[in-house]
């Protein structure tokens, strides 16, 4: 059966399906041809995909061949592959705001401020990489939450503390006073939350947005 497909076709399939790319030498050994022949076929394949009728192209990174989408259409591609934020709900936002302004603080603190459970929101925000946590030294060693560097990057509000500080935020509201100091401290929280890229998950979960032609 496989005789029907050309060697170039097999090479194409190998490059497309190898998760972390594949070396030309390995292509050669799998197909059972010489490396020099692989390089020739590769050149052909590369040329083909360079054409404007293809949206992907071959790149060699660290000696491994992989297909990449072309940079010029990144704005389209990023819509299916990079989507961490669109799914933020308003309650998650609210929790994020609390953590941004008052963190580091425990889940319990968040819930006291909001007057309701915030567990799922904190979890989701962690997954999105917007909130980080670390173990505290408080009794029971609860986690302390604060916004991550990704949050700062995204909002470009590394001087959030400064913003809030100047505000008549907590007239007579003690707990707000105390929180001011917290904000300046954004050093030592480990932002490590998400073992796998949060985008990955977000992507598969996304439903169709229907923004077609309004």
């Amino acid at each position: 059966m496989s005789e029907e497909l050309t060697k170039k076709a097999v090479m194409e399939a190998l490059i497309f399906s190898a998760k972390s790319g594949i070396e030309p030498s390995r292509v050669a050994s799998i197909i059972g041809i010489k490396l020099s022949q692989v390089m020739l076929l590769l050149e052909e394949l590369e040329k083909e995909y360079e054409g404007h009728e293809h949206g992907v192209m071959i790149k060699s990174v660290n000696g491994k061949l992989r297909f990449y989408t072309k940079a010029s259409i990144q704005s389209f591609v990023s819509q299916v592959s990079v989507r961490p934020l669109v799914s933020i709900t308003e309650t998650q936002m609210e929790v994020l705001a609390v953590v941004a302004v008052k963190g580091p603080l425990t889940r319990n603190d968040v819930e006291l401020i909001r007057g309701r459970s915030s567990q799922s929101q904190l979890l989701e925000l962690s997954k999105m990489g917007l909130v980080g946590k670390r173990k505290s030294k408080l009794p029971g060693r609860p986690y302390l939450y604060k916004v991550s560097s990704r949050f700062y990057e995204l909002f470009q509000v590394d001087d959030l503390a400064e913003i809030v500080e100047g505000l008549a935020f907590g007239e007579g509201e003690d707990d707000f006073e105390t929180s001011r100091d917290n904000l300046t401290d954004n050093g030592n929280v480990e932002e490590k939350i998400n073992p796998s890229d949060p985008r990955r998950e977000g992507e598969s979960e996304r439903q169709d947005r229907d923004l077609s032609e309004a």
Binding site: Y68, I88, E90, R209, A214
Partner: protein, 230 residues
């Protein structure tokens, strides 16, 4: 000898329906063409054989056996009323329907098995998105400045723990913006919103729209978002 033969040709049955499907199949005709008395007899014979072979006969089998016996006796009654006849007929139809349905399920599970193995012949072929480092999540300065200013103003007006009952997410807001505005004067727009979280959601929506190239930012004061004409 007969015993031995039996062991070899005697499949194990998952349940009474399984056995019924097997029996019907041996007749090689539509189940509706087989009299209930025949089915009942065969079923009971088989259950007896199962017992004699020390096979596990669960209560499901016994329940089905007694149902079939009951149906058989009804079928053999010389005279029954119209009403009874109808009830019996329905009962019979229901049994046949169940057997057919179960048979279809079994066929489907075979089909699934084939599909599952077939699926292993195909491997996902993917390409990695090229990430343009430059504009990963860079926002125009003007935009963030505007956002910060507005955030500041609302923080003044509002407590952080204000509980907002309405719930809107970024996606919905993007859609609203696209439907409602050709151009948006950013400051005015954001200031018209009630709560801080609504502002943040709206701001994120604006960011997304910019990233998706649906709008572009006109940085001549006042900061304005304009729809892209494609």
């Amino acid at each position: 000898m007969e015993q031995l033969e039996l062991v070899f040709s005697f499949p194990e049955f998952e349940g009474p329906l399984d056995l019924l499907v097997y029996l019907v199949k041996k007749h090689r005709v539509d189940i509706r063409l087989i009299p209930i008395t025949v089915i009942a007899d065969e079923f009971i014979t088989h259950v007896k054989k199962m017992k004699s072979l020390d096979m596990v006969v669960t209560s499901d089998f016994l329940v089905m056996a007694s149902t079939l016996m009951e149906m058989k006796s009804k079928a053999l009654l010389p005279r029954i009323s119209n009403n009874e006849a109808e009830v019996f007929d329905n009962q019979r139809k229901e049994l046949y329907r169940r057997v057919e349905e179960y048979k279809a399920i079994k066929d489907l599970s075979k089909e699934f098995r084939v599909r599952l193995y077939d699926a292993y012949s195909y491997e996902r072929a993917t390409a990695k998105p090229t990430v343009d480092q430059e504009r990963k999540e860079d926002l125009p300065d003007e935009l963030t400045e505007a956002f910060k200013a507005i955030l500041k103003e609302t923080v003044l007006r509002e407590r952080v723990y204000t509980i907002v009952s309405e719930s809107i997410n970024v996606e919905d807001r993007m859609m609203q913006i696209e439907q409602l505005y050709e151009t948006i004067e950013l400051h005015k727009f954001l200031m018209s919103l009630e709560s801080r979280s609504e502002i943040i959601v709206s701001f994120l929506a604006v960011l997304e729209l910019l990233k998706l190239n649906r709008y572009y930012l006109d940085t001549v004061e006042p900061l304005t978002l304009r729809r892209k004409i494609s």
